[in-house]
C-alpha cells in the first residue's frame, strides 16, 4: 500500500463556554516522517487552531498523561503512530473538561 502524504484527523471538540454539545472537526495532517498522534495534535495547535486543548508533557511514554481514545481504543498520544485517517476522542467523554482533556487525566 502506498504511504499517504496527508491524513485526516477527526477530532472531538468541546468548549463548555460556547458549545452546547460536543462535535467533531476534521483536520488535514501532512505526514512528514513517522508521526504519532501527539505530533498531529501539535500540528493543529501550532498551525490551525491554538485553542485545541490536550495534554502533552514528556512525549516519550513516561508521564502517561496524554491518554486519549484513538479509533475508540485507549492509547497514549505520544507513542501511538498513525499512518492513516483516524478519530481522536477524550478518554472519558462524560468527564470532559475541554476538547481532549478530561477530569481523570
Amino acid at each position: 500500500m502506498e504511504k499517504k502524504e496527508i491524513i485526516k484527523m477527526s477530532c472531538f471538540r468541546f468548549d463548555p463556554e460556547k458549545d452546547e454539545k460536543p462535535h467533531f472537526e476534521v483536520y488535514d495532517i501532512p505526514l512528514n516522517g513517522a508521526m504519532c498522534v501527539q505530533d498531529c495534535l501539535t500540528y493543529v495547535r501550532e498551525n490551525v487552531d491554538p485553542s485545541l486543548a490536550f495534554f502533552i508533557n514528556c512525549r516519550l511514554g513516561f508521564c502517561r498523561r496524554c491518554l486519549v481514545r484513538i479509533n475508540g481504543k485507549s492509547c497514549l498520544a505520544c507513542t501511538t503512530e498513525v499512518q492513516d485517517d483516524f478519530t481522536v476522542e477524550p478518554l472519558l467523554k462524560e468527564k470532559v473538561i475541554r476538547d481532549l482533556w478530561c477530569e481523570s487525566l
Binding site: G33, D39, P50, R59, I97
Partner: protein, 604 residues
C-alpha cells in the same frame, strides 16, 4: 486583595515543584511539623524532568558500601569530591560539592527507605571508581509520590506559580494560576523552595518534557535574586533528531554508554566519514560527552550533517547475526531481568535496532541540562531571605561540566532545603503583601487575554526557537551572540508586550494563555544565557566558543553572576568558592583542558 484574585491561601513554606527536588524537600520539611504546600505545574509523579531520568544516582564507593551495595573500597568521599572539582574544570563551588558528596548517601538512603527499587550498582559515568546506583526516573518519582501521599502533604496540581511576592526584599508569598479552571490564587507564606527544573523549551531541539520553561529561574530573577553560570547549557550528543515520533529521545546515547556494545557504533557524516577520527583519534565515539557533541555539531554546521540536521549513528558495518544477538540480549535484559516497562526501552529501542540493520539513525545535540540557574549556597539559600532553591533550577555547583548525577543533586539539595526552610520560618513572621505588586503581576498576566490583536504565542515561540537554534546553540561565537542578545531583548521588550491570546478567551485549559506566561520565562532565561555567554571569552567544558577555543585558567576561573536591580541587569564576576583544592593556572587548548580533567578515566 480578595477582589484581585479568586482564592487566597496561607502556608508556612510553599514548595514549587513536586518531583526529585521539590518532592524530596516536602517530605523532609514535613518532619518539622511546619505547614507546607506543594504547587506543581503538572501532576505529582507525572511531570518535570525527574520521570525521564535514566536514572543513575551517585554516591562515593564507601558510601555505597554503607548503603549495602558492592561499592568500591578504593574510593572515599574525598576522592569523589576531587573528581567533581577536577572534571568540572575547577569552576564549581567547592562548598556545595562537599555538601553534595556528604549528602549523596543520605538522600539515597531516604529513597531506598521509601521503597525505591534499584536495578544495579555500577560505574555510571565511566569514572575510575564505581559510584553509580541505577534505578529509573519512573521508579524514582513513583516513590516520592507514594511518600507525599502517605504523609498527606497538601498539593495543588496543574497549577503554575507565576511570580513571587516580596516585601522589603523578603519572601512573603506568590501568585499562581490554576491551569484547569483559570483561577488566580494568591499564596501567603514565609518561605518558598523553588524546584522548577531547567528551561529546555527555550530550544526547539531538547531532551526535556514540555513543562521545563525556566519558571523558577525567571521569577527569582524578577524579584532580584542573583543567578549564576547561566551560560552553562549542556547539550546531549546522540539525541534522536528524526523521525518526529522519536525526536528528543536519548535512548541511543544511553546505549552508546553501555559496555562493550557502545564501542561497536560509528558516528558518520554525510560523506560516510567516521569524523571522530579528526577530533579525538584515540577515544573516537567513546570520547567525553562534550567532545562528541562539539565534534558532531561542527560537522553539522560545516555542511556535513544528515538530511534532518544531525549526524548518522551507524551499525551497518556489523553483521546481521550480531544485530540479532544484540536485539535478543537487550530484550532479555529489559523485559526479563529489569522488568522495565519504559516505552523507550521496551519498544523504541528494539524498533531502532531492527531498522539499523539496514539504515542509519540520525542523531544530534539536544538541550539537556542547565548548569546555571538561581545562585544558592551550600545551604540552598538564595540571595533573597526566605527563598530557597533545589535541583536543576539552581546553578553554580558543578562548574563547567555536570560531572555526576543530577538526580542525586535534586535529592541532596531537596533534602537540605527541606531541613533548613523550617528553621528559617521560625525566625520570621508573615510579612504583609504588597498590593501594588500583586496587581502588577495579575495585570501583566491577563494582558494577552485582553488584547485583540498582536503576536500569538505560537509566532513568538517560533521566533525564539529560530534565534536560540541559530545563535545561542552549542557552538557559540561573539558575532552571533551579540545579535542573539539584541534579538531576544527585542522579543522581551517589544514582541512580548504585544502577545495576545488569539483563539479563545476561555481561561479553562487555555494553552495560549499559559504559554504566554511561560514564554516570558523562557525568553528571560535565554536572554541572560546569551548575555553571559558573550562575556565568557574562552571555552570550558560544556561551554564552547568558536572564537575563543582556549580554556583560560588565568583570566576565566571566574563565575558570572547576574541579577536585576532597578530594572537593569547587573553583572559581577566571582572566583569560585574554594575549600580544599586550589585553582590551576595557565592557558590550555580546549581538548588539553578536558584531557587533563579526565586523565584518570579508564577507557579500555
Amino acid at each position: 486583595m480578595e477582589d484581585l484574585c479568586d482564592k487566597i491561601i496561607s502556608t508556612d513554606i510553599l514548595i514549587v515543584g513536586s518531583e526529585g527536588a521539590g518532592g524530596h524537600a516536602a517530605i523532609e520539611a514535613s518532619k518539622s511539623g511546619a505547614d507546607i504546600l506543594i504547587i506543581t505545574k503538572g501532576k505529582i509523579g507525572q511531570c518535570g524532568a525527574s520521570q525521564m531520568a535514566g536514572a543513575d544516582f551517585n554516591v562515593d564507593g564507601l558510601g555505597g558500601r554503607e548503603l549495602g551495595f558492592e561499592g568500591d573500597e578504593r574510593d572515599s568521599p574525598d576522592l569523589f569530591f576531587e573528581t567533581l572539582v577536577r572534571e568540572g574544570l575547577y569552576l564549581g563551588n567547592q562548598k556545595m560539592l562537599e555538601k553534595y558528596v556528604e549528602y549523596a548517601p543520605k538522600a539515597m538512603k531516604d529513597l531506598i527507605d521509601w521503597g525505591m527499587k534499584v536495578y544495579s550498582y555500577e560505574s555510571a559515568h565511566t569514572e575510575e571508581m564505581a559510584r553509580g546506583i541505577i534505578s529509573s526516573g519512573i521508579l524514582w518519582v513513583a516513590t516520592i509520590r507514594k511518600k507525599v501521599k502517605e504523609l498527606k502533604i497538601p498539593i495543588l496540581e496543574d497549577t503554575m506559580v507565576v511570580d513571587l511576592l516580596t516585601n522589603e526584599g523578603k519572601i512573603v508569598g506568590a501568585v499562581a494560576l490554576d491551569i484547569v479552571s483559570g483561577e488566580i490564587i494568591v499564596i501567603k507564606c514565609k518561605a518558598v523552595i523553588l524546584a522548577t527544573g531547567g528551561w529546555h523549551k527555550a530550544y526547539a531541539f531538547n531532551t526535556g518534557p514540555e513543562d521545563l520553561t525556566g519558571d523558577g529561574v525567571a521569577m527569582a530573577y524578577r524579584v532580584g535574586a542573583e543567578l549564576i553560570s547561566m551560560e552553562m547549557v549542556q547539550f546531549c550528543p546522540v539525541t534522536m533528531v528524526w523521525p518526529p515520533k522519536d525526536k528528543g529521545s536519548i535512548i541511543l546515547y544511553i546505549i552508546k554508554e553501555v559496555d562493550p556494545f557502545g564501542k561497536t557504533i560509528k558516528l558518520l557524516n554525510k560523506n560516510g566519514e567516521r569524523f571522530m577520527e579528526n577530533y579525538d583519534s584515540t577515544n573516537l565515539e567513546q570520547s567525553t560527552k562534550e567532545i562528541v557533541s562539539i565534534a558532531s555539531q561542527l560537522e553539522i554546521e560545516e555542511g556535513r550533517g544528515s538530511p534532518h540536521g544531525g549526524v548518522f549513528f551507524s551499525l551497518k558495518h556489523t553483521r546481521k547475526r550480531f544485530m540479532d544477538m544484540l536485539i535478543k540480549v537487550a530484550n532479555h535484559r529489559i523485559k526479563n531481568e529489569m522488568k522495565d516497562t519504559r516505552y523507550e526501552f521496551t519498544t523504541l529501542l528494539p524498533e531502532l535496532l531492527e531498522m539499523m540493520k539496514t539504515e542509519d539513525a540520525e542523531v544530534g545535540n539536544g538541550a539537556h541540562y542547565m548548569g546555571g540557574g538561581v545562585k544558592i549556597n551550600e545551604n540552598t539559600e538564595t540571595t533573597i531571605p526566605g527563598l530557597f532553591a533545589a535541583g536543576e533550577c539552581t546553578g553554580g555547583m558543578w562548574g563547567a561540566v555536570r560531572v555526576a548525577s543530577a538526580c542525586t543533586e535534586a535529592g541532596v539539595q531537596g533534602k537540605i532545603a527541606g531541613e533548613l526552610a523550617p528553621k528559617y520560618i521560625k525566625t520570621v513572621t508573615q510579612g504583609d503583601l504588597n498590593i501594588a505588586q500583586v496587581k502588577e503581576i495579575i495585570n501583566r498576566m491577563n494582558g494577552p487575554l485582553l488584547r485583540e490583536v498582536g503576536i500569538t504565542p505560537n509566532e513568538l515561540q517560533l521566533k525564539m526557537h529560530k534565534i536560540s537554534g541559530e545563535k545561542i546553540g552549542l557552538i557559540k561565537n561573539g558575532k552571533d551572540l551579540e545579535e542573539g542578545v539584541a534579538e531576544i531583548e527585542k522579543l522581551l521588550n517589544v514582541d512580548l508586550q504585544k502577545l495576545y491570546v488569539s483563539s479563545s478567551k476561555n481561561k479553562t485549559l487555555n494553552f495560549e494563555f499559559f504559554r504566554a506566561i511561560e514564554l516570558r520565562n523562557m525568553l528571560t532565561c535565554l536572554y541572560l544565557s546569551a548575555k553571559t555567554s558573550l562575556l565568557r571569552e574562552e571555552s570550558r567544558g560544556e561551554f564552547y566558543r568558536k572564537d575563543y577555543t582556549f580554556t583560560d585558567n588565568d583570566k576565566w576561573l571566574k563565575t558570572i553572576v547576574i541579577k536585576r536591580k532597578d530594572g537593569k541587569t547587573e553583572i559581577k564576576f566571582e572566583t569560585p568558592t574554594i575549600t580544599k583544592i586550589s585553582l590551576p593556572s595557565g592557558k590550555l587548548t580546549y581538548q588539553e583542558a578536558i584531557g587533563v580533567a579526565t586523565a584518570s578515566l579508564k577507557r579500555d
